[in-house]
Symmetry: D2
Subunit: 462 residues, 4 copies
């Protein structure tokens, strides 16, 4: 399960001549958000009247050189890390998107997925407009520029927001102004904070921590926050009755040390473990996580159940890109490269394996096999999320409905497919309780097949 993107925007005080350039702050912030996208990254700064940028395929430390970064002067800028969910891994799609238009220029960094992206693209194409990238971001840029020809930036952003359907957390630079924009359902996280010499907007609060800054607050759903010399000016542009925060940010995607919409991700995951223990108790000797994503929930499960927490699987910390050699045996070697068992913790024991989720089921099966080969007497799978039965339309890369094992099979068949002795998913109620946000304020589309916005061919929950 991989998601799309991380966004950053930085504004440094004009007066503070000793302040670090925005590019440097963005670099570190992107480094802290690397988990949100490893395919490409870019930084765009305002340099005088012009926009300048560095972009490239690869990880943050690979794309930026010290020399180049220090040349990217300017007190204002946005940045992006990206993992493509739609497959087009061309350099052309690397963000931020820099755009020149009638009255100047703008740059957009986007996290999310538009449900009506193709529709808007078709409309814009009907007007004779052209698209150079395959990203929704270019759709937003077109709409924004159309609005900017008539309105001021704030009004323009508002107008564009009224046209977009889906998830979008944006850092936008329009001429000398920096904006943080979050869709009216607040699917994807976005927050603002204060750093030494300036202000920052970022997908997750860890980026602010890394810059030794202070998280000020989340950007509200439907809000535009303008970042100025004087701090943050919030403008509530659109108001839906309820939000629809993505539950998978808490379950899997965000860093545990981030605070998203008021909830520390770590706490949510710990509570998930506790709830699981209550919902699916089992007579076992140890509870062991699938590292790294299952660790915190396993600690919670252990706490609640009193069953010992033990590491049964160890991850190789040095795994980078490894080439795949032909043959089934080589594929298995590649798996063992990534993860190994601690037999002594597993041998002759009844083991609870705690993982964050099951998508296709293949990884779960392989892990359970490893655990059994290491001597486990029983293997009980406990999953830190409800069964995923439907696709995500808002940007989480969850595979198609056909590939989702829980969409096709009843629980007992899933259990058999992954060769577990028992299988327990967290209930939806348990998840909601763990997150600590009201059910109505969450997007549960992939778990309930009912989405908070209208999607052709799917049911709507509102």
């Amino acid at each position: 399960m991989k998601e799309e993107c991380g966004v950053v925007g930085v504004l440094m005080h004009k007066a503070d001549t000793k302040a670090k350039p925005a590019s440097l702050q963005i670099y570190y912030a992107l480094y802290a958000l690397q988990h949100r996208g490893q395919e490409s990254t870019g930084i765009t700064v305002k340099n005088g009247d012009k926009l300048k940028s560095i972009k490239g395929m690869g990880l943050v430390p690979e794309v930026y050189s010290k020399d180049e970064l220090l040349k990217l002067e300017g007190r204002l800028g946005v940045g992006h890390v990206r993992y493509s969910t739609t497959g087009d891994s061309n350099i052309v799609n690397c963000q931020p998107l820099m755009v020149n238009y009638k009255n100047g220029n703008l740059a957009i960094a986007h996290n999310g997925n538009l449900v009506n992206g193709q529709e808007l693209r078709d409309e814009l194409e009907s007007e004779g407009r052209i698209f150079i990238t395959s990203s929704d971001t270019e759709v937003i840029a077109h709409l924004l520029v159309k609005a900017l020809l008539i309105h001021d930036p704030l009004e323009s952003i508002k107008e564009v927001m009224s046209m977009l359907k889906g998830s979008y957390s944006l850092a936008i630079m329009i001429d000398d102004r920096l904006f943080a924009v979050r869709d009216p359902l607040g699917f994807k996280p976005l927050c603002v904070g204060e750093i030494d010499g300036g202000y920052v907007v970022a997908s997750e609060s860890v980026a602010i921590d890394t810059l030794n800054g202070k998280l000020t607050r989340d950007v509200k759903a439907g809000e535009v926050v303008e970042i100025t010399e004087n701090g943050f000016e919030g403008h509530q542009m659109l108001t839906e009755k309820n939000c629809a925060h993505c539950v998978f940010e808490y379950i899997y995607f965000a860093r545990p040390d981030s605070i998203i919409d008021g909830q520390l991700v770590y706490k949510v995951r710990e509570q998930i473990g506790r709830e699981l223990a209550k919902e699916h108790p089992v007579d076992a000797d140890i509870v062991s996580p699938v590292p790294d994503s299952g660790i915190t929930s396993a600690i919670g499960y252990s706490d609640e159940s009193g069953i010992n927490y033990r590491e049964g699987l160890m991850k190789n910390r040095y795994i980078g890109r490894t080439f795949i050699l032909p043959g089934q045996e080589m594929r298995e070697t590649a798996v063992r490269l990534k993860m190994n068992t601690i037999s002594e913790n597993l041998r002759d024991r009844k083991v609870i394996i705690l993982d964050d989720s099951i998508v296709r089921g293949t990884t779960s099966r392989r892990i359970i096999e490893m655990v059994r080969n290491a001597g486990a007497k029983e293997v009980h799978a406990r999953i830190g999320s409800p069964a995923i039965i439907a696709p995500c339309y808002m940007g989480i890369d969850m595979a198609s409905r056909e590939e989702l094992i829980a969409a096709k099979k009843p629980l007992v068949d899933v259990k058999n497919a992954i060769t577990a002795d028992s299988l327990g998913y967290l209930s939806i109620e348990g998840l909601i309780k763990s997150i600590g946000i009201h059910r109505d304020e969450l997007c549960l589309g992939c778990l309930t097949e009912r989405y908070p916005i209208k999607i052709v061919g799917e049911k709507c929950s509102r």
Copy 2:
């Protein structure tokens, strides 16, 4: 003096299943056109309904890997090599430009410079359109797509041509069709040819030679040639009374083994030498070229004058990118790295140094110093072009008027500045005679300050 670009387009026969993919042919053709641009390169092919491309900063052998190239399947494609004259060396500007629009997609490879590029851009921006690159090519793409919403491809290209002012030689892929387009004044070269299994359009005929093909003909000024399964279909779209072929393609820029608008570049350069000998005879012991661009003219000069041709300067064939270390002395070392003297050919001799042109005069002065240090008794500069007194607006990177030494100083001062004993430029008449094309069919703007099209602040020759 560096120019912009080289373009290529290839269509392979559908029926010929053993034919090489277009990508491979384009790769070799771009390699042959590498002298036209060393900054970035790209290949775009039609792969089913989609366009696919490889792009990168650097030389052809650096950007393309064998594995990636062989994956770029398709029988139709365009390619580009680029040297930026406008300074924006960002990957975003790397061509071909791939565009999606209402009815499909298109790709454009462009060599040239629009005189009304900014004006058109402003108009398009006024309509609310946005620009992602800083290239004229995106302007062309916008106009083309606007037309395509109403007209068929040929009619659309015609309409766009009627709006563009300046130089453009284009290879355009619109859906499954490939077009070669040349501006009505025919500034930049463009030709078509037949290769084993298909057809090719290219900036210079050497690309066709490299593919073991046969040059069919030049694309005419104002003509669109559609390349189909059955060969070439020419459509004369715009007709000016006269052409305005760029004289610097012959003087300096094109490869000597290319045939451009019917004239073999090698022959022109040889004749330039002959004419120079007639116009500026001098009592000398040897005539020696500045390698490589002065070689052919020096042979011609020697032939006509009877003065011995001798190599007085040798070029280091292995010079690649070399880093510049601080200090004047280090800069001089860098010059000596590139070129060395053969003292024995120069010592105690009266030497004619034949160079293709003088821009700022600094290189000429340095070379003449080297020649004198090597013992030459007299150094007579003979230049294979008339004095450059005005900038080029059509894409040749010639420095600004302020930097052009001949724009600021009379002949005698230029002679003194470069420390020559005598200085002889080829006359404009001599140049015209050497090229073998009527004066009225050439662009002589940089030599006469009169341009074949209207340029704000400049005089027009027509």
Copy 3:
């Protein structure tokens, strides 16, 4: 604290024509041992009569390309990963060392450090011998070749072993034969195992696990194991009264999923935590590890003490090489990039921070500051090893005596220097109990200032 190297040797059955080449097995084994050295790596195989190798600076996935690796054919080979403790990070020192001599060739991969390396080098130099690398390995090669001129390989290795003082775990290929050699005190780990189609020798058993093989046994101290078509032939060459296994392999260096000299590293670390809890109980709300090396011990501490295990510090999993920008502030940013706090787990709490060791004390101080800034009421440092008061002469990179904080200061001053509320080191007895190997069989030099072999200027424990 960084250690030197990891070694691998592989022999595949002649008869098994479908067996994978040795190079591939070595590649995966080195990948599993990457934690033992990240500076350079090499693979040398026997290819007909010749040795062939690939070497390079960097990580395993960076140095080897699929194409090159598949070309490295042969059923016999050795491999190496290296982190230089002596500073000479030149490609020349990259191992395995390939050597040609009178009767053929050999290749050596070495983990360890000779105490009499310089002495032997001086002697060899006195004979007029030359050294091309700065490694002990070349010393061993000289001695081995001298012996091979007189004796057979086994006898030769024995003779060389009698001359070497210090730590050495070697994989040696002499002509068509493969040997695993371990010094008579057994400082560094070395084990052998069986894989599908052949046999393997490796620094740690995880390498065998990764190849889906079975750990057969440890190579004994003072033993040479010849790996042949028929398996392992052990030869006890030198016998000391006791071994001197390095305790830091258990404390810090080895992977937790490795079994070294019969002890699972994971179990040792867990027990260390338990012992610490018994030795240094404290009234606290949570016990939190410094990730990743403190995790297992913290679990043990929690288990024993009943104090809750909580993650207070999170590591950024994506940290690679990051360039250091000038300035103190930037250095601190770099630290925060690597580690962040979970405030909610720390705020207003009495926190036990469990780390594996203290070297200079600077990292500990920085971490305790972070924990305090996150709101911890009290911070109690518990260290999973005794105080390091003396340097290591056997290959662990522990800084000089002057830099070791515990060598200079009494406990209370160390506690103050790292700003902890209390500080508890594991006792030597507690460590020994945790490892489960008799005190006399361990090297405790860095903890006791008494070394198992004579070292000039130091006291000997035996």
Copy 4:
């Protein structure tokens, strides 16, 4: 035909604190000698008591970065560019060879090939010595160190010289002293010169020119020149009755702007053309070189014969490493990428094609085919060297006797094989006359099958 290496040594004055570091001077000198080796390069400097070096596979501009180079401080150093003739293109063989021995360290850069290299290696191996590289240089290092244990550096070098048979031009650094050493037959070039702030030794005088220095003189055959603060101290160590300068340095290998043993290479090549014209006149319309190596001789031929010099073949200046795609057709495309014809110069003409030599004959045949396809009526091959009938044992990579077309076939068959209308090789007398050095002072082994030193299985000329 490719040869081995280029060597450089630099000593900068102690007193001159503003002098550039030796590393920088060596870098530029190696750049000027790049034609002598493109496979790998290295620079080693004396940095305090230690030697430091940068080495790598590839071209000079690829291997050295500005930052690294500026860190390589020291006033004394040697450098090397290499093309392997023996096929072992491993980084291990990259020179200079740095060696530590009893009394200090030394570095050797070697151009040449020892005839008794294997024999000396065997002897040294019999003494129990080991070899890490496959180069003769390591043999020399062993012998030198053996001598240095007894004698002073000069005496040691003398002793080593008395043992070596074959070609060697060396730059050697022993502790703080720099030596230039040339074998007693003076096969390979070596010269010394003065530069601003210091002194230099180099394979060719162009390296000195590039550093804006002055060629002082050639190192004499059998001479050792010590480079000191005060200049050059020559020591004639060995004296043979005659030298044996390699003729192929003049014919093909050296840069034309170098002066080797008193003869400007350019002048020799020009005279070769004149002699060829006298020896093999033919009724032709033009004489055209195979670029670049045939250019100067073709000018000489034209001068002498009165037949017009015309460029019939043009080289693509941008050819770098190009990957070879499968198939005969692709191989031909690769040839056309490198060279193209100027049809207009060739069509319906009787053409003399002047090339420097014929080795296997395949390239000549391909070129003559291209010339004929371009319309030439007759093609007469004139070769600027006598027929190569025997291999080189001194370092020129000339293919084996079996591959040499002239070793297997009479003249008429060679003519037919390359499809020429006539074929004229330069006579040995003509070559000697052109070089301007007495026959007895030249090595003509590959042309006469009689070598100036004893080689097993070959005849000796002395």
